[in-house]
């Protein structure tokens, strides 16, 4: 299992892969449980991404030549 945090897309792909491995039923119990555990961890992190409640909206502001900083964007009011 790779140590590096997978992107959402890769995590979803990996979960799909694990499920189809489990479906095929060729893995020994121990391997199956390992995969299952991996899938649960990935699913948990995907879930966290999906439920990240905070809206992150900012704007890029040029500080000097070729240098930028992120500032909160004042959302335009409804009119």
């Amino acid at each position: 299992m790779p140590k590096k945090k997978l992107s959402f897309e890769d995590a979803m792909k990996r979960i799909e892969e694990i499920v189809s491995d489990l479906e095929r039923g060729e893995l020994p119990l121990e391997k199956s449980l390992d995969r299952f555990e991996e899938a649960v961890k990935l699913a948990r992190s995907c879930q966290q991404t999906l439920e990240a409640a905070q809206k992150r909206i900012s704007k890029l502001v040029r500080t000097e030549e070729d240098s930028f900083t992120l500032e909160p964007l004042d959302e335009p009011s409804e009119d």
Partner: protein, 410 residues
């Protein structure tokens, strides 16, 4: 003193060069960047590639020059009879005492001319292959960071934010503020696309602008914007104007959204059903694993009934312990397990524990081994009076000698 000498005494006298130089300074600083509208006449392209022409209206005319370097960047060039907007600086050619407009930008006037310019550029870029489907980059499946190049105060930015957060709260939106119409818009937009590429870390770029006239949307029909979009290594979604408005940017971009509020759906589409998908995948995974555990449980139960305690081998002991550990691990890892599933897992765990000989001994049973053969004694026939036997309890054991044996003996 003659009056003329008196005047000369009081006022400054310029040489022609001096006055021309002063006029040059005055004119050039006053008209360093101007737009002039007029009709083109006397248009000649010199062998050097520079174009010389006159701009005129009913009351006046003015000499203009368009250098080849500037001409190369333009989609519309001066032609006799064409009414144009020319942008440039006024300069004075001192040797001939003439002023002229050094033109850097030419825009046709009126919608008719805008459409001509639009079609010309479209044709040119299509010929270069900028609209080819194979040049289009696929949009990322689950973007986490989206750049929005737009006016920070317009309706478009609000539409994009609202539509995006409705689909997926967790997405990060970074607005790159630019002017989306008028002077400088095309440069700011193309610069923004280039900057975002050099900054990196963005999964997709959305170019957004609300609806408007062809003039309002013109920046998105400029070649410099088309080139920036085409050069972008980050996929670009063009979301300019209303559904019916097509801009050059739409053709060059990797995807076109009919309106700014439709753009987020295009880039976030995979998030729409992903929660349901994730849940069903995990349910599937769980049922596979539980099925597997159950099958192993049946295998163990089968083993026990077949061989009984007669052949409680080390292998079985180890296996039961392994499975036990695995179950504990699986149990702690199943975060979102339902109560029914948790109960099932703990029942299965209990069954495995019952299989372990250690647990059996704990319930008060003991195992008797023959002193010489070390075989488990299951029948009085396995020993003779006087044989030595060792008895294993849950805790420790004893070695003893058989005094009596018999079928009815307990």
């Amino acid at each position: 003193m003659r009056p003329i000498d008196d005047a000369i005494e009081k006022e400054k006298v310029y040489s022609v060069s001096e006055i021309t130089s002063c006029i040059k300074d005055a004119i050039e600083s006053e008209f360093a960047q101007v737009w002039v509208i007029g009709e083109v006449s006397n248009c000649k392209v010199h062998s050097s590639g520079h174009t010389y022409f006159t701009l005129k209206d009913d009351g006046a005319q003015m000499r203009c020059v368009l250098f080849s370097g500037s001409a190369r960047r333009l989609s519309v060039l001066p032609e006799n009879g064409l009414k144009i907007y020319a942008r440039g600086r006024v300069t004075v050619y001192e040797k001939q005492g003439q002023y002229e407009l050094i033109v850097t930008t030419v825009l046709p006037t009126g919608k008719g001319e805008l459409y001509i310019a639009f079609s010309k550029l479209k044709e040119k870029l299509a010929e270069e292959g900028l609209f080819d489907p194979e040049r289009k980059q696929p949009l990322p499946k689950f973007p986490s960071r989206i750049a929005v190049v737009t006016s920070p105060t317009g309706a478009a930015v609000r539409d994009v934010i609202r539509a995006a957060t409705k689909i997926h709260q967790g997405v990060e939106l970074v607005v790159y503020p630019v002017r989306v119409q008028g002077e400088g818009a095309r440069d700011e937009i193309s610069q923004a696309v280039a900057d975002l590429n050099s900054l990196g870390g963005f999964d997709v770029i959305i170019l957004a602008r609300g609806g408007g006239s062809i003039e309002d949307l013109w920046a998105f029909n400029e070649e410099i914007v088309a080139r920036a979009v085409s050069d972008s290594e980050i996929p670009v979604v063009s979301a300019v104007g209303h559904e019916i408005d097509y801009t050059i940017a739409d053709f060059v971009a990797d995807a076109r959204a009919p309106t700014p509020s439709a753009a987020p759906a295009l880039v976030l589409i995979d998030y729409v059903d992903v929660k349901t998908r994730l849940r069903s995948l995990m349910q599937q995974a769980r049922s596979e694993v539980f099925g597997l555990i159950e099958r192993h449980g049946q295998f163990l139960t089968g083993l026990r009934s077949h061989y009984g305690l007669r052949r409680v081998s080390d292998r079985l002991t180890d296996r039961a312990r392994d499975i036990d550990e695995m179950l504990v691990r699986a149990e702690t890892s199943v975060v979102s397990m339902t109560d029914a599933e948790a109960a099932r897992l703990s029942r299965l765990k209990g069954e495995f524990e019952a299989l372990s000989p250690t647990a059996t001994l704990e319930r008060g049973y003991s195992i008797c081994f023959h002193g010489d053969t070390k075989k488990i004694v299951k029948s009085y026939k396995d020993v003779d009076v006087g044989d030595s036997v060792s008895i294993k309890f849950s805790e420790g054991g004893v070695v003893s000698r058989v005094e009596k044996r018999g079928k009815e003996l307990t």
